[in-house]
Symmetry: C2
Subunit: 220 residues, 2 copies
Protein backbone atom coordinates (compact mmCIF):
# COMPACT_ATOMS: atom_id res chain seq x y z
CA UNK A 1 0.00 0.00 0.00
CA UNK A 2 2.85 2.36 0.82
CA UNK A 3 4.38 1.68 -2.59
CA UNK A 4 1.05 2.16 -4.35
CA UNK A 5 0.64 5.58 -2.74
CA UNK A 6 4.19 6.55 -3.72
CA UNK A 7 3.52 5.55 -7.32
CA UNK A 8 0.43 7.75 -7.40
CA UNK A 9 2.37 10.66 -5.91
CA UNK A 10 5.15 10.30 -8.49
CA UNK A 11 2.69 10.04 -11.39
CA UNK A 12 0.85 13.17 -10.21
CA UNK A 13 4.19 14.95 -9.78
CA UNK A 14 5.21 14.04 -13.33
CA UNK A 15 2.02 15.54 -14.79
CA UNK A 16 2.58 18.83 -12.97
CA UNK A 17 6.27 18.81 -13.94
CA UNK A 18 5.20 18.66 -17.60
CA UNK A 19 2.87 21.63 -17.10
CA UNK A 20 5.72 23.63 -15.55
CA UNK A 21 8.06 22.62 -18.35
CA UNK A 22 5.51 23.78 -20.95
CA UNK A 23 5.00 27.09 -19.15
CA UNK A 24 8.74 27.75 -18.86
CA UNK A 25 9.36 26.80 -22.50
CA UNK A 26 6.49 28.98 -23.69
CA UNK A 27 8.12 31.93 -21.90
CA UNK A 28 11.62 30.94 -23.12
CA UNK A 29 12.81 30.48 -19.55
CA UNK A 30 15.61 27.94 -19.14
CA UNK A 31 14.87 25.83 -16.04
CA UNK A 32 17.77 24.48 -13.97
CA UNK A 33 17.23 22.03 -11.08
CA UNK A 34 20.27 22.22 -8.73
CA UNK A 35 20.80 19.23 -6.45
CA UNK A 36 23.52 18.17 -4.01
CA UNK A 37 24.23 16.96 -0.50
CA UNK A 38 24.08 19.49 2.35
CA UNK A 39 27.07 21.82 2.47
CA UNK A 40 28.46 21.10 -0.99
CA UNK A 41 28.23 24.79 -1.88
CA UNK A 42 25.08 25.04 -4.03
CA UNK A 43 24.12 28.44 -2.66
CA UNK A 44 27.60 29.94 -3.07
CA UNK A 45 27.80 28.63 -6.64
CA UNK A 46 24.38 30.14 -7.32
CA UNK A 47 25.42 33.50 -5.82
CA UNK A 48 28.51 33.64 -8.02
CA UNK A 49 26.60 32.43 -11.07
CA UNK A 50 23.90 35.05 -10.63
CA UNK A 51 26.54 37.78 -10.24
CA UNK A 52 28.12 36.67 -13.51
CA UNK A 53 24.82 36.42 -15.40
CA UNK A 54 23.03 39.59 -14.27
CA UNK A 55 21.98 42.00 -15.68
CA UNK A 56 22.63 40.51 -19.16
CA UNK A 57 20.63 37.42 -18.22
CA UNK A 58 17.57 37.90 -16.00
CA UNK A 59 17.57 35.36 -13.18
CA UNK A 60 14.83 33.92 -10.97
CA UNK A 61 15.46 31.51 -8.10
CA UNK A 62 13.23 29.14 -6.17
CA UNK A 63 15.18 28.18 -3.03
CA UNK A 64 14.07 25.06 -1.19
CA UNK A 65 14.94 24.56 2.45
CA UNK A 66 13.72 22.35 5.28
CA UNK A 67 14.15 25.19 7.77
CA UNK A 68 15.34 28.83 7.81
CA UNK A 69 15.28 31.35 4.95
CA UNK A 70 19.07 31.76 4.91
CA UNK A 71 19.61 30.69 1.32
CA UNK A 72 16.81 32.89 0.00
CA UNK A 73 18.23 35.84 1.94
CA UNK A 74 21.75 35.24 0.60
CA UNK A 75 20.47 34.93 -2.96
CA UNK A 76 18.25 38.03 -2.72
CA UNK A 77 21.33 40.18 -2.23
CA UNK A 78 22.26 39.62 -5.88
CA UNK A 79 19.27 41.33 -7.51
CA UNK A 80 17.70 38.11 -8.73
CA UNK A 81 14.00 37.47 -8.03
CA UNK A 82 14.01 34.91 -5.23
CA UNK A 83 11.23 32.92 -3.63
CA UNK A 84 11.64 30.44 -0.81
CA UNK A 85 9.84 27.12 -0.49
CA UNK A 86 10.05 26.03 3.13
CA UNK A 87 9.35 22.28 3.20
CA UNK A 88 8.72 22.51 6.94
CA UNK A 89 5.22 23.50 5.79
CA UNK A 90 5.02 20.12 4.06
CA UNK A 91 6.17 17.94 6.95
CA UNK A 92 9.87 18.72 6.46
CA UNK A 93 9.96 17.03 3.06
CA UNK A 94 13.39 15.86 1.90
CA UNK A 95 12.88 17.03 -1.70
CA UNK A 96 10.96 19.61 -3.70
CA UNK A 97 7.78 18.58 -5.52
CA UNK A 98 6.42 19.98 -8.76
CA UNK A 99 3.17 21.13 -7.12
CA UNK A 100 5.08 23.51 -4.81
CA UNK A 101 7.15 24.85 -7.69
CA UNK A 102 3.97 25.40 -9.71
CA UNK A 103 2.44 27.34 -6.83
CA UNK A 104 5.58 29.52 -6.61
CA UNK A 105 5.72 30.41 -10.32
CA UNK A 106 3.02 33.17 -10.37
CA UNK A 107 5.16 35.25 -7.99
CA UNK A 108 7.67 35.77 -10.84
CA UNK A 109 7.23 38.07 -13.81
CA UNK A 110 7.67 35.23 -16.29
CA UNK A 111 7.78 37.58 -19.28
CA UNK A 112 11.04 39.03 -17.94
CA UNK A 113 12.94 35.91 -16.81
CA UNK A 114 15.61 34.20 -18.91
CA UNK A 115 16.62 31.47 -16.47
CA UNK A 116 14.99 29.92 -13.40
CA UNK A 117 17.20 28.12 -10.90
CA UNK A 118 15.44 25.71 -8.57
CA UNK A 119 17.73 25.08 -5.59
CA UNK A 120 16.56 21.71 -4.32
CA UNK A 121 16.80 20.41 -0.74
CA UNK A 122 20.31 19.30 0.32
CA UNK A 123 19.94 15.57 -0.23
CA UNK A 124 21.44 13.09 -2.71
CA UNK A 125 18.57 10.60 -2.56
CA UNK A 126 14.99 11.89 -2.43
CA UNK A 127 15.14 14.70 -5.04
CA UNK A 128 16.05 12.17 -7.75
CA UNK A 129 12.46 10.88 -7.86
CA UNK A 130 10.82 14.23 -8.56
CA UNK A 131 11.05 16.10 -11.85
CA UNK A 132 10.27 19.80 -11.38
CA UNK A 133 9.71 20.81 -14.99
CA UNK A 134 13.34 21.85 -15.42
CA UNK A 135 15.27 21.67 -18.69
CA UNK A 136 18.47 20.44 -17.09
CA UNK A 137 19.48 18.83 -13.82
CA UNK A 138 22.74 19.95 -12.24
CA UNK A 139 24.36 17.92 -9.46
CA UNK A 140 27.00 19.59 -7.29
CA UNK A 141 29.58 17.46 -5.49
CA UNK A 142 32.47 18.94 -3.53
CA UNK A 143 35.94 17.41 -3.37
CA UNK A 144 35.72 17.29 0.43
CA UNK A 145 33.01 14.61 0.18
CA UNK A 146 35.24 11.78 -1.08
CA UNK A 147 35.56 10.29 -4.55
CA UNK A 148 32.83 7.68 -4.24
CA UNK A 149 29.66 9.80 -4.10
CA UNK A 150 28.62 9.13 -7.75
CA UNK A 151 28.65 5.35 -7.28
CA UNK A 152 27.09 5.54 -3.80
CA UNK A 153 24.24 7.73 -5.06
CA UNK A 154 23.95 6.55 -8.67
CA UNK A 155 20.27 7.48 -9.20
CA UNK A 156 20.80 11.22 -8.86
CA UNK A 157 24.14 11.30 -10.70
CA UNK A 158 22.81 9.25 -13.61
CA UNK A 159 20.21 11.97 -14.25
CA UNK A 160 22.70 14.84 -14.19
CA UNK A 161 23.12 16.81 -17.40
CA UNK A 162 25.86 18.75 -15.64
CA UNK A 163 28.07 17.79 -12.70
CA UNK A 164 29.76 20.68 -10.90
CA UNK A 165 32.79 19.52 -8.91
CA UNK A 166 33.15 22.25 -6.29
CA UNK A 167 35.83 23.37 -3.77
CA UNK A 168 38.82 22.47 -5.98
CA UNK A 169 40.77 25.24 -4.18
CA UNK A 170 41.02 22.76 -1.27
CA UNK A 171 42.61 19.97 -3.36
CA UNK A 172 46.18 20.66 -2.14
CA UNK A 173 45.00 20.00 1.43
CA UNK A 174 43.06 16.77 0.81
CA UNK A 175 43.86 13.13 0.06
CA UNK A 176 41.49 13.35 -2.85
CA UNK A 177 42.01 11.68 -6.22
CA UNK A 178 40.10 13.75 -8.79
CA UNK A 179 40.89 11.19 -11.52
CA UNK A 180 39.03 8.60 -9.45
CA UNK A 181 36.06 10.96 -9.08
CA UNK A 182 36.01 11.55 -12.85
CA UNK A 183 36.04 7.78 -13.45
CA UNK A 184 33.13 7.30 -11.01
CA UNK A 185 31.13 10.10 -12.68
CA UNK A 186 31.87 8.53 -16.04
CA UNK A 187 30.63 5.19 -14.73
CA UNK A 188 27.14 6.38 -13.80
CA UNK A 189 26.74 9.60 -15.82
CA UNK A 190 28.80 9.14 -18.96
CA UNK A 191 26.87 11.79 -20.90
CA UNK A 192 27.05 14.53 -18.31
CA UNK A 193 29.21 17.61 -18.77
CA UNK A 194 31.63 18.05 -15.88
CA UNK A 195 32.98 21.41 -14.69
CA UNK A 196 35.63 21.51 -11.97
CA UNK A 197 35.48 24.80 -10.10
CA UNK A 198 35.69 26.68 -6.85
CA UNK A 199 32.91 29.10 -6.03
CA UNK A 200 35.17 30.48 -3.31
CA UNK A 201 38.27 31.22 -5.41
CA UNK A 202 36.32 31.63 -8.71
CA UNK A 203 38.66 29.14 -10.42
CA UNK A 204 36.77 27.43 -13.23
CA UNK A 205 33.57 29.41 -12.66
CA UNK A 206 33.98 31.19 -16.03
CA UNK A 207 33.71 27.96 -18.06
CA UNK A 208 30.48 26.92 -16.32
CA UNK A 209 28.95 30.40 -16.66
CA UNK A 210 29.97 30.63 -20.31
CA UNK A 211 28.40 27.24 -21.04
CA UNK A 212 25.19 28.25 -19.24
CA UNK A 213 24.98 31.61 -21.03
CA UNK A 214 25.18 29.80 -24.33
CA UNK A 215 22.38 27.38 -23.35
CA UNK A 216 20.17 30.27 -22.22
CA UNK A 217 20.88 32.16 -25.46
CA UNK A 218 20.12 29.12 -27.64
CA UNK A 219 16.85 28.73 -25.76
CA UNK A 220 15.61 32.25 -26.59
CA UNK B 1 -3.95 9.54 2.83
CA UNK B 2 -0.23 9.80 2.20
CA UNK B 3 0.23 11.28 5.68
CA UNK B 4 -1.95 8.58 7.27
CA UNK B 5 0.24 5.87 5.75
CA UNK B 6 3.40 7.62 6.99
CA UNK B 7 1.99 7.81 10.51
CA UNK B 8 1.28 4.08 10.47
CA UNK B 9 4.78 3.36 9.17
CA UNK B 10 6.36 5.48 11.91
CA UNK B 11 4.22 3.90 14.65
CA UNK B 12 5.14 0.40 13.44
CA UNK B 13 8.80 1.44 13.28
CA UNK B 14 8.67 2.72 16.86
CA UNK B 15 7.35 -0.61 18.14
CA UNK B 16 10.14 -2.54 16.45
CA UNK B 17 12.71 0.02 17.66
CA UNK B 18 11.60 -0.70 21.24
CA UNK B 19 12.01 -4.44 20.67
CA UNK B 20 15.54 -3.86 19.37
CA UNK B 21 16.34 -1.59 22.29
CA UNK B 22 15.17 -4.25 24.74
CA UNK B 23 17.20 -6.95 22.99
CA UNK B 24 20.37 -4.82 22.96
CA UNK B 25 19.91 -3.79 26.60
CA UNK B 26 19.29 -7.39 27.66
CA UNK B 27 22.62 -8.33 26.08
CA UNK B 28 24.36 -5.22 27.49
CA UNK B 29 25.12 -3.98 23.98
CA UNK B 30 25.40 -0.19 23.68
CA UNK B 31 23.61 0.87 20.47
CA UNK B 32 24.89 3.91 18.54
CA UNK B 33 22.99 5.37 15.58
CA UNK B 34 25.44 7.39 13.43
CA UNK B 35 23.91 9.97 11.11
CA UNK B 36 25.28 12.67 8.81
CA UNK B 37 25.17 14.12 5.32
CA UNK B 38 26.99 12.25 2.53
CA UNK B 39 30.74 12.67 2.66
CA UNK B 40 31.03 14.07 6.18
CA UNK B 41 33.37 11.22 7.14
CA UNK B 42 31.13 8.81 9.10
CA UNK B 43 32.90 5.73 7.76
CA UNK B 44 36.41 7.05 8.42
CA UNK B 45 35.41 8.04 11.97
CA UNK B 46 33.97 4.56 12.46
CA UNK B 47 37.12 2.91 11.12
CA UNK B 48 39.33 4.90 13.50
CA UNK B 49 36.91 4.38 16.42
CA UNK B 50 36.82 0.61 15.86
CA UNK B 51 40.62 0.49 15.71
CA UNK B 52 40.81 2.31 19.04
CA UNK B 53 38.13 0.14 20.71
CA UNK B 54 39.11 -3.35 19.54
CA UNK B 55 39.94 -5.83 20.97
CA UNK B 56 39.15 -4.40 24.43
CA UNK B 57 35.63 -3.53 23.30
CA UNK B 58 33.90 -5.93 20.92
CA UNK B 59 32.32 -4.04 18.03
CA UNK B 60 29.51 -4.85 15.62
CA UNK B 61 28.46 -2.61 12.73
CA UNK B 62 25.34 -2.40 10.60
CA UNK B 63 26.28 -0.29 7.58
CA UNK B 64 23.45 1.23 5.57
CA UNK B 65 23.94 2.30 1.97
CA UNK B 66 21.73 3.09 -0.97
CA UNK B 67 24.14 1.41 -3.37
CA UNK B 68 27.52 -0.37 -3.23
CA UNK B 69 29.04 -2.32 -0.34
CA UNK B 70 32.05 0.02 -0.04
CA UNK B 71 31.48 1.08 3.56
CA UNK B 72 30.91 -2.48 4.77
CA UNK B 73 34.10 -3.56 2.99
CA UNK B 74 36.12 -0.73 4.52
CA UNK B 75 34.76 -1.48 8.00
CA UNK B 76 35.33 -5.25 7.69
CA UNK B 77 39.06 -4.64 7.47
CA UNK B 78 39.12 -3.69 11.14
CA UNK B 79 38.05 -7.04 12.62
CA UNK B 80 34.61 -5.84 13.65
CA UNK B 81 31.55 -7.92 12.72
CA UNK B 82 29.95 -6.00 9.86
CA UNK B 83 26.68 -6.46 8.06
CA UNK B 84 25.44 -4.33 5.20
CA UNK B 85 21.87 -3.17 4.68
CA UNK B 86 21.49 -2.15 1.06
CA UNK B 87 18.39 0.07 0.82
CA UNK B 88 18.33 -0.47 -2.93
CA UNK B 89 16.43 -3.62 -1.98
CA UNK B 90 13.84 -1.36 -0.33
CA UNK B 91 13.34 1.08 -3.22
CA UNK B 92 16.52 3.06 -2.48
CA UNK B 93 15.19 4.28 0.88
CA UNK B 94 16.77 7.47 2.23
CA UNK B 95 16.98 6.19 5.82
CA UNK B 96 17.27 2.94 7.74
CA UNK B 97 14.17 1.43 9.34
CA UNK B 98 13.96 -0.59 12.54
CA UNK B 99 12.53 -3.63 10.73
CA UNK B 100 15.70 -3.97 8.61
CA UNK B 101 17.92 -3.58 11.65
CA UNK B 102 15.89 -6.22 13.48
CA UNK B 103 16.32 -8.59 10.56
CA UNK B 104 20.08 -8.00 10.59
CA UNK B 105 20.57 -8.64 14.32
CA UNK B 106 20.55 -12.48 14.28
CA UNK B 107 23.67 -12.44 12.08
CA UNK B 108 25.65 -11.15 15.10
CA UNK B 109 26.75 -13.18 18.09
CA UNK B 110 24.93 -10.89 20.53
CA UNK B 111 26.46 -12.58 23.56
CA UNK B 112 29.88 -11.33 22.46
CA UNK B 113 29.15 -7.74 21.38
CA UNK B 114 29.75 -4.68 23.60
CA UNK B 115 28.74 -1.98 21.17
CA UNK B 116 26.70 -1.91 17.97
CA UNK B 117 27.19 0.96 15.55
CA UNK B 118 24.41 1.55 13.06
CA UNK B 119 25.79 3.65 10.20
CA UNK B 120 22.70 5.30 8.80
CA UNK B 121 22.21 6.49 5.19
CA UNK B 122 24.03 9.73 4.31
CA UNK B 123 21.15 12.15 4.75
CA UNK B 124 20.35 14.91 7.25
CA UNK B 125 16.57 14.71 6.87
CA UNK B 126 14.90 11.31 6.55
CA UNK B 127 16.79 9.32 9.25
CA UNK B 128 15.52 11.72 11.94
CA UNK B 129 12.03 10.17 11.77
CA UNK B 130 13.13 6.60 12.46
CA UNK B 131 14.39 5.34 15.80
CA UNK B 132 16.42 2.15 15.38
CA UNK B 133 16.49 0.94 18.97
CA UNK B 134 19.81 2.70 19.66
CA UNK B 135 20.83 4.09 23.03
CA UNK B 136 22.39 7.24 21.61
CA UNK B 137 22.21 9.18 18.37
CA UNK B 138 25.42 10.66 17.01
CA UNK B 139 25.35 13.31 14.29
CA UNK B 140 28.54 13.98 12.32
CA UNK B 141 29.03 17.34 10.63
CA UNK B 142 32.25 18.33 8.90
CA UNK B 143 33.69 21.85 8.91
CA UNK B 144 33.70 21.88 5.11
CA UNK B 145 29.88 21.90 5.12
CA UNK B 146 29.43 25.45 6.43
CA UNK B 147 28.43 26.69 9.88
CA UNK B 148 24.66 26.68 9.34
CA UNK B 149 23.86 22.95 9.07
CA UNK B 150 22.44 22.63 12.63
CA UNK B 151 19.85 25.38 12.06
CA UNK B 152 19.09 24.26 8.51
CA UNK B 153 18.48 20.66 9.63
CA UNK B 154 17.22 21.23 13.19
CA UNK B 155 15.19 18.01 13.52
CA UNK B 156 18.18 15.68 13.30
CA UNK B 157 20.54 17.89 15.34
CA UNK B 158 17.97 18.38 18.11
CA UNK B 159 17.95 14.60 18.65
CA UNK B 160 21.73 14.26 18.83
CA UNK B 161 23.19 13.08 22.10
CA UNK B 162 26.61 13.60 20.57
CA UNK B 163 27.73 15.89 17.73
CA UNK B 164 31.06 15.02 16.12
CA UNK B 165 32.54 18.01 14.29
CA UNK B 166 34.87 16.36 11.77
CA UNK B 167 37.72 17.48 9.45
CA UNK B 168 39.09 20.13 11.82
CA UNK B 169 42.53 19.54 10.23
CA UNK B 170 41.17 21.57 7.28
CA UNK B 171 40.24 24.63 9.37
CA UNK B 172 43.38 26.63 8.39
CA UNK B 173 42.31 26.37 4.75
CA UNK B 174 38.64 27.33 5.15
CA UNK B 175 36.64 30.50 5.84
CA UNK B 176 34.91 28.64 8.63
CA UNK B 177 33.92 30.11 11.98
CA UNK B 178 33.82 27.24 14.48
CA UNK B 179 32.44 29.57 17.19
CA UNK B 180 29.43 30.18 14.94
CA UNK B 181 28.95 26.44 14.46
CA UNK B 182 29.10 25.89 18.23
CA UNK B 183 26.47 28.61 18.72
CA UNK B 184 24.21 27.01 16.10
CA UNK B 185 24.60 23.57 17.72
CA UNK B 186 23.82 25.13 21.08
CA UNK B 187 20.71 26.70 19.60
CA UNK B 188 19.09 23.45 18.50
CA UNK B 189 20.91 20.81 20.57
CA UNK B 190 21.88 22.50 23.82
CA UNK B 191 22.21 19.21 25.70
CA UNK B 192 24.38 17.40 23.21
CA UNK B 193 28.05 16.68 23.85
CA UNK B 194 30.28 18.09 21.14
CA UNK B 195 33.64 16.63 20.11
CA UNK B 196 35.79 18.47 17.59
CA UNK B 197 38.07 16.07 15.79
CA UNK B 198 39.73 14.91 12.60
CA UNK B 199 39.44 11.26 11.68
CA UNK B 200 42.21 11.89 9.15
CA UNK B 201 44.82 13.45 11.45
CA UNK B 202 43.49 11.72 14.63
CA UNK B 203 43.35 15.10 16.41
CA UNK B 204 40.64 14.97 19.07
CA UNK B 205 39.73 11.32 18.36
CA UNK B 206 41.04 10.26 21.79
CA UNK B 207 38.50 12.35 23.72
CA UNK B 208 35.56 10.89 21.77
CA UNK B 209 36.85 7.32 22.08
CA UNK B 210 37.52 7.78 25.81
CA UNK B 211 33.99 9.12 26.34
CA UNK B 212 32.51 6.22 24.38
CA UNK B 213 34.57 3.60 26.24
CA UNK B 214 33.25 4.98 29.50
CA UNK B 215 29.62 4.79 28.30
CA UNK B 216 30.11 1.20 27.10
CA UNK B 217 31.72 0.26 30.41
CA UNK B 218 28.94 1.86 32.45
CA UNK B 219 26.44 -0.07 30.37
CA UNK B 220 27.95 -3.49 31.20
Amino acid sequence: MEIKVLEEVLAANELIAREINALLSENRIFGVNMMSSPGSGKTTILEKTIEALMPEVNVGVIAGDVATTRDAERLSEHNASVIQIDTDTFGGACHLEAQWVKRALPTFDLKKLDVLFIENIGNLICPSGYNLGEHIKVVVVSVTEGEDKPIKYPAIFSMAHVVLVNKIDLLPHLDFDIVKLRAHINNVAANSIVFELSARSDEGMDKWVEWLKLRVKEFK
